[in-house]
Amino acid sequence: MVEIRFKARVDEEKCVSCPMCENVCPTAAITLPRKGAKAVVVDDQCVGCPNCSGVCPVDAIDLVLREKPLVVGVDASDVDEDRILALCRKANLHPQQWLCLCTATRVREGAAAVLKGAATPEAVALMTGTRSGCTVYCLQPTLRLLKAHGVKVVQPKGYRWYDISQTCWDVPEDVRKKYPGHFLEEDLEVFRKI
């Protein structure tokens, strides 16, 4: 379980209604409801990452302590183990590998979230607590799990995230051959063994 102790708070006096916070929020918790409007935070959707407060050009956003921590996480034990393994295998991910290093969340928990119905990176983050730290590393395994499950991920407007997920498995053979000394085939073999 991940304990989210902070949430973003917008100082409306300072907010200049630029879209920067909206574009960096990993869970779409902070939005500008319309052009010229002040930024609004949906508390239950905010995972307390440092992005919006970090990029705000006028320091209008603070991270403040929640009255009560938001506790999130997925219990993978109530999802059929074979389905978790099958999804992980299809995504070329090991169920025990890290999904998110910041929250110590494993891929199996992400797989369980997807199998329980999370259909976007934002939904996986809200269910598992991932993307509440650096917001970076966990996006790749999340996208890979969603795509392996057959979800058609739709890149959001703006630049909240871009839909790319190349892996060692996807490098065409001719490219692999073109780059000897880069250990593409050898590392693929490492992953295959795992």
């Binding site: 902070f6 090991h94 590998q97 110590a104 997920s165 780059y179 880069h182 992953f191």
Partner: protein, 473 residues
């Protein structure tokens, strides 16, 4: 042989409270001179506090024969810098190299639109702090800007499909790749395309960084940097690279050129020569207390010219490409076909004292693998509130001050070996027993690297050891 410690300057930041006492002031610690351990490690042209004229001269000399004729007077140029360069030896040397590059380009081309892009990792406000601290706004009036991995991206078509750079990196006619040769995270680059790495990190959007870190490896991660660099888009803007070279002795020179593959080869050879022995020597430490006391995050904090991350991984020779700690997402230390688990930490580290550090990298494995003591309530609060290390303080205790932290660390670690990561180059801040041990082990380490390891590292990368010996450092 041992002299006074020489801790590096600590920069003020919102990412870490100022230390009340520097570890180097603790009674009994000494500065063990690197040149006495390994006289053949490349010598410094600049050490912190020295005359920056040496940096200006070295940069000008390195740029003398570099082609710049593609840059016309009316063009725009982005000099690309990375935040880590500013943590080395107080950061002034790197800042001086950047300013000198600008001066030389202007003199040679007449170009006036020379901008600076200061790129960062997870500390989003750090580039603005850097620009202010080093007076870069004065050197680049209205032309110094922060670049963060979450800023707007730009698609780059590569041989493995679209990857994303950060738009602000590439919003000029030309780019200059101004980096450094410090070893930093060997587990990620393995001295393969070390020179290209920022194209998949500092200059890249977060998705691209995660593709390299999470979807490739343990030796192929920098393939992503290579395909981005080789893309038509990047090639259409790239002018030259300029690297601040380092060894544990200090800054050893500047290398520049428009052939990045050739520069990469030089960085690799200099890297082996500079860091091979000190890294191997750290593997000779069988038990110690480590003290973190410098600018930056633990993983990239320097002690005796080498990053702490290289010590937490010291029991593995990561120059050796037969070593296959699997990639970041798996945890670092499990060889296939064993089951992955949390990345472990060099068991020689018996206690860890955090006197000063910055937030900025997930590093829970430190607290879960080493008895860890945070010094003071300010540091404890910083760690408790760090969103990148949710559970860190659940595994860590707090001491009132540095002296009580050290007393407690000695009690649980039961060793008098102390090493401090205080940003020092040229000297390693250690306790006398550890200084004696390292001094005694250095000759064997030197021989082992020269006779066995170095030839192996070179051959693994297709380089004839005899030919490598002829390359000027």
């Amino acid at each position: 042989m041992s002299t006074q410690p020489t801790p590096s300057f600590v920069r003020r930041s919102v990412y870490g409270p100022e230390p009340k006492q520097r570890a180097a002031t603790l009674p009994g610690l000494v500065g063990l001179e690197i040149k006495r351990l390994f006289p053949d490690v490349p010598e410094a042209i600049y050490l912190e506090g020295g005359d920056l004229a040496a940096m200006r001269e070295a940069t000008r000399a390195a740029l003398r024969d570099v082609r710049m004729d593609m840059i016309r007077e009316g063009h725009s140029v982005n000099i690309l810098a990375s935040q880590y360069g500013f943590t080395l030896m107080g950061g002034y040397a790197y800042a001086e190299m950047l300013k000198t590059i600008k001066d030389v380009v202007r003199e040679r081309t007449g170009c006036k639109k020379i901008r600076l892009r200061v790129c960062t990792g997870f500390r989003i406000r750090e580039p603005d702090e850097i620009i202010q601290h080093y007076g870069l706004e004065e050197s680049f009036p209205h032309a110094a800007a922060a670049v963060r991995p979450i800023d707007k991206g730009i698609p780059i078509e590569t041989e493995i499909g679209t990857l994303y750079g950060v738009a602000k990196v590439y919003d000029a006619d030309w780019i200059i790749h101004a980096h450094h040769g410090e070893l930093r995270e060997l587990d990620m680059h393995r001295m393969i395309n070390r020179a290209h790495k920022p194209f998949a990190m500092s200059y890249a959007r977060m998705e691209t960084r995660a593709v390299a870190h999470m979807n490739f490896g343990p030796r192929s991660s920098n393939f992503i940097a290579k395909v981005i660099f080789d893309s038509r888009f990047v090639q259409s803007k790239f002018t030259f690279g300029c690297f601040m070279l380092t060894s544990p002795q200090g800054i050893t020179g500047v290398a520049a050129g428009s052939d990045l593959d050739a520069l990469d080869r030089k960085l690799m050879l200099v890297g082996f020569k500079s860091y091979g022995k000190i890294r191997e020597l750290f593997a000779e430490i069988k038990e110690c207390i480590a003290v973190l006391d410098a600018t930056g995050e633990p993983r990239y904090m320097i002690g005796g010219g080498l990053t702490f991350g290289n010590v937490t991984e010291a029991e593995l020779d990561l120059f050796d490409l037969d070593m296959m700690p699997v990639s970041l997402g798996f945890g670092l230390y499990e060889r296939p076909p064993h089951q992955p688990r949390a990345k472990s930490v060099n068991p020689a580290l018996k206690a860890l004292v955090i006197n000063h550090m910055w937030l900025g990298v997930p590093q829970l494995e430190l607290a879960t693998h080493i008895p860890t003591i945070a010094v003071g309530q300010d540091m404890a609060r910083l760690l408790r509130d760090d969103p990148m290390n949710h559970d860190f303080m659940r595994h860590c205790v707090t001491a009132e001050n540095l002296e009580t932290a050290m007393k407690f660390a000695r009690a649980i670690a039961r060793t008098d070996n102390v090493i401090v990561f205080d940003g020092s180059f040229g000297r390693m801040t250690v306790s006398p027993p550890l200084a004696e041990h390292l001094t005694a082990r250095a000759p064997d380490v030197s021989r082992r690297v020269d006779e066995q390891l170095m030839p192996k590292w070179l051959r693994q990368r297709g380089i004839d050891p005899a030919a490598a010996a002829q390359v000027a450092m």
